[in-house]
């Protein structure tokens, strides 16, 4: 009699105990499902904020996946940024036309700033060969994207180089005109004045005074 009483008392607690064990086991053996509601914009902007923050760049969202940075990234920075974003599933979409325009600009700068012969080359032939497109095609795309012509951009860069050379003050204006393949000093001076509104000598004077002013 006594021996029977004990299991009876214990039975409910054994059942309860086994239920607990089963519960624990079920959580080990079965995977768990959670439903997550997410806002893709928040997620995306968090990653962007982190990756741009590392580069000390601020941005403003413009909607539809477009953002505006508060400064220009160099080609290398943009490349490393692309590599950082890729594993997160974010991709920088590049406009093919803008990419081509940048290539045209790079090629022109290389040509103008080349030390030898660069400015003796015929620019239309040089660009067409270098970029593998007809000059007409390049010229149209360039005007469409920048609202100015390739010819203008070349002049702008040549004057930019002339400015550098004037500031360094090692060469005379005649020598600079020769280096940049102008037919005469007068031609360079006229183009300088047309592009900047001031003469080369006024430019030289202003920059010199400005530097003294800063000291």
């Amino acid at each position: 009699m006594h021996a029977l009483k004990l299991p009876l008392i214990l039975l409910p607690s054994i059942i309860l105990f086994s239920k607990i064990i089963l519960f624990i086991f079920s959580n080990i053996f079965y995977t768990m499902k959670l439903f997550i509601k997410f806002d893709i914009n928040t997620v995306c902007s968090l990653f962007l904020k982190e990756k741009l923050g590392e580069r000390q760049v601020n941005y403003t969202p413009l909607g539809f996946g477009e953002i505006e940075l508060d400064k220009n990234l160099t080609a290398e920075e943009l490349e490393s940024m692309k590599n950082d974003l890729e594993p997160l599933g974010l991709e920088i979409v590049e406009n093919q036309k803008s990419v081509l325009v940048q290539k045209i600009k790079d090629a022109i700068i290389e040509m103008v700033f080349m030390d030898e012969n660069g400015n003796n080359l015929k620019s239309s032939v040089y660009l067409a060969e270098k970029l593998n497109h007809s000059y007409g095609y390049l010229s149209n795309i360039f005007s469409e994207v920048t609202y100015s012509s390739i010819e203008n951009f070349i002049i702008l860069q040549k004057i930019e180089r002339a400015k550098q050379l004037i500031i360094i003050n090692e060469l005379s204006l005649t020598e600079i005109a020769f280096l940049l393949n102008y037919s005469s000093v007068a031609h360079l001076s006229t183009q300088f004045k047309n592009t900047t509104g001031i003469t080369p000598s006024a430019f030289q004077r202003i920059i010199k005074k400005r530097r003294e002013n800063l000291k």
């Binding site: 700068i109 550098q164 002013n213």
Partner: protein, 149 residues
């Protein structure tokens, strides 16, 4: 990388000039966003405010009450976070002295206020296009000088 809109700020106390300017910008091909300051004091307060998004080009009238354009120019060039701003002087004066002096003080562009709308439109187009090249083509801003009549 094409920027979505170019931020333009004009400091000018003359209401007609501001309207004229605004209309001209509305007809420029490159997309722009134009803001105004009514005098030199307001301009400097705006630029010094930490929440201000700095303009891509600041157009500065020389003759303004409270603080002249030239005083603003000197102050801007002495302020670290402002000294790289592209500054276009926008003035009725065409004296060679004013022009050279503001260039020496660090202005990038000198525009003599044109008398008709078409001339203004042409000038603004030129400034905006050229400025855009400076943004995207690694041109040296320290030697960026442009005089327009």
């Amino acid at each position: 990388m094409q920027k979505s809109a170019l931020h333009i700020l004009l400091a000018d106390d003359d209401e007609d000039d501001r309207l004229f300017f605004k209309d001209a910008f509305e007809e420029v091909k490159i997309q722009t966003k134009v803001q105004f300051a009514h005098d030199g004091m307001e301009l400097m307060e705006h630029l010094m405010h930490p929440d201000t998004i700095l303009p891509d080009i600041l157009f500065l009238d020389l003759n303004m009450p409270k603080k002249t354009g030239k005083e603003c120019l000197i102050e801007i060039k002495k302020t670290d976070h402002l000294k790289h701003l592209i500054i276009a002087i926008y003035s009725t004066s065409s004296s060679e002295e004013d022009i050279e002096d503001t260039f020496i003080q660090g202005a990038n562009i000198y525009i003599k206020k044109p008398s008709n709308f078409n001339a203004l439109k042409k000038i603004i187009n030129e400034v905006v296009t050229l400025n855009w090249h400076y943004h995207t083509s690694g041109l040296n801003r320290d030697t960026f000088l442009l005089r327009l009549k």
